[in-house]
């Protein structure tokens, strides 16, 4: 992995059109500004990994369990949306 030192306000370019700028350093946290073309999704890696895990947990469940779940959902209907209590 390429490791570079940057100061606040300095940037890195990846190719011609991706720019990463160090905006702020606060203790153990670094705030980065990102500019990338619309066709490049920018995703936090740990979230990507968590989504990959839940996707894998969705793959090929038992058909009987799905039918039971479907019957429960048809009885219960939708639940209220969560109200910004954060991610579990």
């Amino acid at each position: 992995m390429l490791v570079l030192s940057r100061k606040i306000g300095q940037s890195l370019l990846i190719g011609n059109d991706i720019r990463i700028k160090v905006v702020e350093i606060r203790g153990q946290q670094v705030r980065l500004g990102l500019e990338a073309p619309d066709d490049v999704p920018v995703i936090r890696e740990e979230l990507q990994r968590e989504v990959a895990e839940t996707n894998a947990g969705s793959a090929a469940p038992d058909a009987g369990a799905v039918a039971d779940l479907a019957a429960r959902l048809r009885r219960q209907g939708p639940k209220a949306a969560p109200r910004g209590e954060g991610d579990k």
Binding site: A59, L73, R75, P82
Partner: protein, 163 residues
């Protein structure tokens, strides 16, 4: 509107016109390299659908229209998504959420909806910045007194009793 009608509308919106194969240009997290997916319905599983990889049919995710599991789900989709969906439009786009059934209880991933443009047949699993939406939102928990299988299948009588 009954769930059956909602289902049918969802399906017809997704299947309108050819081709019926959805293209996920960036693949799906956990399923690297699989870009072509198709929605498959299964009567017993309604309102759930399967999103099945064309190149590897044993890779199939359980998905559902979020309206079936959560009220008032209006996540902010980043603007870049629409151009990645081929000039997709928010108005005609459809959302599906991935359902996990790995433990005793099921959950839906509200943090990473599948956004699909039925016209361009392109889709993307969008990972939202907003942590209001959990990755594991519990759905349809087991009831205290489970009714015997084969009964209580009529949604109308039960949903009116809930409210």
């Amino acid at each position: 509107m009954s769930q059956a009608v909602a289902d049918r509308e969802c399906r017809s919106a997704l299947q309108r016109g050819a081709p019926s194969i959805l293209y996920f240009a960036h693949g799906l997290p956990g399923f690297a390299g699989l870009r072509r997916w198709e929605l498959v319905e299964h009567g017993e599983a309604r309102p759930f659908l399967w999103l099945r990889a064309v190149e590897r049919p044993q890779a199939a995710l359980l998905v559902v229209d979020p309206q079936e599991v959560v009220g008032d789900y209006r996540p902010g989709i980043p603007a870049g998504v629409w151009s990645r969906l081929g000039n997709g439009s928010e108005a005609r786009s459809r959302r599906l959420v991935v359902v996990s059934l790995s433990g005793p209880e099921a959950s839906a991933n509200l943090r990473a909806p599948l956004v699909i443009d039925p016209q361009t047949m392109r889709g993307e699993q969008v990972i939202l910045d907003d942590d209001q939406w959990p990755v594991r939102f519990p759905i349809a928990p087991h009831e205290a007194s489970e009714t015997p299988p084969g009964t209580g299948r009529s949604p109308a009588c039960w949903s009116s009793a809930e409210k």
